[in-house]
């Protein structure tokens, strides 16, 4: 009765591959970075022991920011942004290393860090969902306030962690791989399952993709929004313990500019800043690209200023490629 020119159903698998294509691209960037490393420092790369160790250094450097990026990815997919992640880490780190908290032992310190993260995330979420503040403003205010509180609690001093168990987290290796890397892997795996296999993940995509449609389909948008910021806060609490353990101390200035690194990693991993679309695997690759660049500059003894310029360039390139690919894909379907 109606004649429509239909694109063949066969084409559909191409869309499923879209994420894979991007991840392959990011792997390509990683390979390229390694090749640059080999060319610039061939003498280092000729030593297999050094190479193995260097990979672990890169992974270890990626671990804390990786955990934060997983939480950030959820918030962005849900249509928000969390600028306060670095500040939450500082507050959680400082709070869990006060003399009083340390007296409760490792479990007390971990509990405190996680609760501070969850608590601050809850405040963010309530302000945004029920106070109707724009996420940018609410979390920007939290960024300033939480660092302020951290400075007050610590009296602007660096607080040393004297707890052996906490300090051992960063130095423990299982099958030769640092425990921190396992933590990142566990958080990323849990994040992947949560996003792709649970109703929580489906609601996240729905409210980020079209908030009004989600609301009119009976989804509790406000509750989901709150939960997303709580999740981000929880990830910050975990990262606070990891960083505190690595430094065996915490101070109000720790995790500086983590919000920018986490957002950038999520974006180059294919998360749309406007919400509704993103992947955990891509975000983790994004983090790895950044920590590999940092490593590349370190082994060449180059200035960090140049490094930051390169990072900026990579963010722009990633988004440009993403837009180009997205347009060509939609055109493909329109035909």
């Amino acid at each position: 009765m109606i004649t429509e020119t239909l694109p063949a159903e066969k084409r559909e698998p191409r869309r499923l591959d879209e994420g894979t294509i991007r991840n392959l691209g990011l792997i390509g960037v990683l390979v390229l970075l390694v090749i640059i490393g080999i060319i610039t420092r061939p003498e280092l790369y000729s030593d297999p022991a050094w190479v193995r160790n260097n990979i672990l250094v890169i992974l270890q450097q990626a671990s804390a920011i990786g955990v934060v990026t997983v939480g950030m990815t959820f918030v962005i997919i849900g249509g928000g942004i969390d600028l306060s992640v670095g500040a939450i880490i500082a507050l959680a780190g400082v709070w869990c290393t006060t003399v009083a908290t340390q007296s409760f032992g490792a479990a007390g310190m971990i509990f405190t860090a996680l609760m501070v993260g969850i608590g601050v995330g809850l405040v963010n979420g309530l302000l945004i969902a029920y106070g109707k503040l724009v996420p940018f403003i609410a979390t920007l205010a939290m960024l300033v306030a939480a660092r302020g509180l951290a400075a007050q609690i610590s009296d602007k001093q660096t607080q040393i962690s004297t707890n052996e168990t906490i300090n051992a987290i960063a130095t423990t290796r299982i099958f030769g791989i640092p425990l921190l890397v396992y933590i990142l892997a566990a958080v990323a795996a849990a994040g992947w399952v949560l996003l792709n296999r649970t109703t929580f993940g489906r609601r996240t995509v729905a409210i980020g993709g079209n908030e009004e449609a989600a609301r009119l389909a009976g989804i509790n948008v406000k509750r989901q929004t709150v939960l997303l910021y709580v999740l981000s806060g929880l990830c910050c609490g975990i990262a606070a313990i990891m960083l505190t353990s690595q430094a065996t101390s915490a101070q109000a200035g720790m995790a500086n500019l983590y919000e920018l690194d986490a957002i950038a990693a999520a974006i180059i991993g294919g998360t749309l800043l406007s919400g509704g679309r993103g992947t955990i695997v891509g975000a983790v690759f994004g983090v790895l690209v950044f920590s590999t660049i940092t490593n590349l500059f370190a082994i060449n003894n180059l200035e960090t200023e140049v490094q930051n310029m390169v990072k900026g360039g990579i963010i722009v390139a990633a988004v440009l490629i993403q837009q180009f690919r997205y347009q060509s894909l939609t055109q493909l379907f329109k035909k």
Binding site: M1, I2, E4, L6, P7, E9, E12, R15, L16, R197, T198, T199, F200, G201, R202, V205, A206, G209, N210, E212, A213, A214, R215, L216, A217, G218, I219, N220, G276, R277, T330, F333, K334
Partner: protein
């Protein structure tokens, strides 16, 4: 019903030199639709020329052709004696044709003066001349009889009526010779309409022509000089005298279509059962007042009403998406106070703005179909994608979704098939009562007939349907019972079989039954 042939002008034409705008056989084709299919129009300097026609008759398209938004595919447009084909809205403005849309296109955070001269600010070496702009705006506002509006005030802080004055000030800042007004009274209260008419009379006294679009016959009689009637993209009557043409004749020229509506055959009234939905004295101030209605299982209840009559707001309030000021909504005896409660109780809604209110355009069809029910498929929080896909596929098949398959993104579907996805969402959720707001807007002819069949099938299966449409034939062709809404009030109710299109249209536009018509 057969479509009457287009008629020649019913009134002798004015002297040539008075005519500023003339359209001859103007055609505008969109993919699949002839939106304008031979429009004749003649507007004289200093007159108020009313355009009348049902939704979808082509009024909006015609305005956009005049405003330079669309370009006519065939026909001639003559403006002040010369052929006229504006390439852009700016070109139309420069030529002296200004359009005031229903949704006023003002920038809320700029001042009155900045809005009035938006796009052609008086400037010197790139610096705006604020004082000059303000004083010229003051002059124009005085000309409009609204010297009390300060040019420096932010538009955001103005009431709707004053915003409309600012829109007219913008038109005059361009020295417009023809102002097109698209349902200007829809956003105004009663006394504000009188003020609008006073302004229009002053404008026409200065020789400016006005094309006035409204569905309210009393207004057309009050302000209009001549009327042109459109139907299905054609002029069915031109230059009728606005004050003396009988209502029956005007309504008759607007109605009686046509091949576009293919309804499933009529059916017996659904069985008398206890109502599924009971709405009592529902009120939201400024939107609708004291609305009571019921929907029984298997019954299709249609609400006819114009844009701005409060019908969409009513539907959203019944669905729990807006909070009523007074009154109650009960679904199967249980009160509904939130969308979540409505959905849990088995209510579903296909909202007016499909793309912005109902769909995740980049997500696959099946995830859109299960948006309201994926938690029912899930086990302890883990989604069952396979189960969702299988169920969606069955639903898609029963709705004859085209192309088949549920993995492609919804964005790639046509409007009619997107609407099927929205309806399918509620079928999957086991919905007992479906609210449909303009279900066939932006849907092509063939898909319309299919949607009508889907809606009717739903009712046959015992689902209650509450349907809102500004297309009267749609309400009459689908519904078992018809309610007429006008300016926030339910003014009429009757079985669909006992009321005809002319009567409904008259109720919608004039608020009264035609004399001598059986109610």
């Amino acid at each position: 019903m057969t479509a009457p042939e287009p008629e020649e002008s019913a009134v002798p034409q004015g002297t040539e030199d008075q005519v500023v705008l003339r359209l001859h056989d103007v055609v505008k084709i969109f993919p699949g639709v002839r939106a304008l299919d031979g429009v004749q129009l003649e507007v004289r300097a200093g007159e108020v020329h009313c355009l009348l026609g049902q939704n979808g008759a082509g009024k909006s398209t015609l305005i956009k052709v005049l405003a330079g938004v669309h370009h006519a595919d065939a026909g001639e447009i003559t403006w002040r004696g010369e052929p006229f084909a504006p390439g852009t809205p700016q070109a139309a403005m420069r030529a002296g044709i200004a359009t005031i849309y229903q949704e006023l296109d003002l920038v809320d955070d700029l001042s009155v003066a900045e809005n009035a001269f938006l796009g052609h600010e008086p400037s010197l070496f790139g610096f705006t001349r604020r004082r000059v702009t303000a004083s010229r705006t003051r002059e124009i506002l005085a000309r409009l009889g609204h010297a009390e509006i300060s040019p420096r005030r932010l538009v955001r802080s103005l009431p709707a009526a004053a915003k409309q004055v600012v829109s007219m000030a913008r038109a005059l800042s361009h020295d417009a010779r023809l102002i097109v007004m698209d349902e200007p009274s829809a956003v105004l209260a009663h006394d504000e309409v009188a003020n609008l008419f006073r302004i229009i009379r002053e404008l026409t006294a200065q020789g400016i022509a006005v094309i006035y679009i409204s569905h309210r016959l009393d207004e057309i009689r009050d302000i209009g000089d001549r009327v042109t009637v459109l139907k299905d993209g054609r002029t069915t009557a031109a230059n009728l005298p606005a004050r003396t043409t009988p209502t029956r004749e005007l309504v008759g020229k607007m109605t009686g279509r046509s091949i576009e509506y293919v309804f499933p055959p009529g059916r017996d009234a659904p069985p008398e059962e206890d109502p599924l939905l009971v709405v009592e004295n529902l009120t939201r101030s400024g939107e609708f007042a004291d609305v009571s209605l019921t929907v029984r299982p298997g019954e299709i209840v249609g609400i006819a009403g114009l844009v701005g009559s409060g019908r969409s707001e009513l539907l959203e309030t019944i669905f729990g998406a807006r909070r009523p000021d007074a009154g109650t909504v009960k679904l199967a005896g249980k009160p509904v106070r939130s969308v979540e409660a409505a959905v849990r109780g088995g209510m579903g809604m296909a909202p007016e703005e499909r793309k912005s209110q109902a769909l995740l355009l980049d997500e696959p069809i099946f995830k859109n179909m299960t948006l309201a029910s994926f938690t029912k498929f899930a086990k302890v929080g883990f989604t069952d994608t396979g189960g969702e896909r299988a169920a969606s596929e069955r639903t898609a098949k029963s709705l004859e979704l085209r192309p088949p398959g549920v993995i492609r993104p919804v964005r790639t579907l046509s409007g009619g098939n997107q609407q099927k996805v929205v309806v399918g969402r509620w079928l999957l959720g086991g919905t007992r009562l479906l609210l449909l707001d303009e279900p066939t807007r932006g849907v092509d002819v063939g898909a319309r007939a299919e949607l009508y069949q889907v809606i009717r099938d739903l009712a046959e299966r015992g689902v209650g349907v509450l349907l809102v449409s500004s297309e009267v034939p749609e309400v009459l062709g689908l519904a078992d019972r018809v309610l007429v809404m006008r300016e926030g009030h339910m003014i009429h109710e009757s079985p669909a079989a006992e009321i005809d299109e002319d009567t409904v249209l008259n109720l919608v536009m004039a608020g009264s039954l035609l004399e001598g018509e059986p109610a």
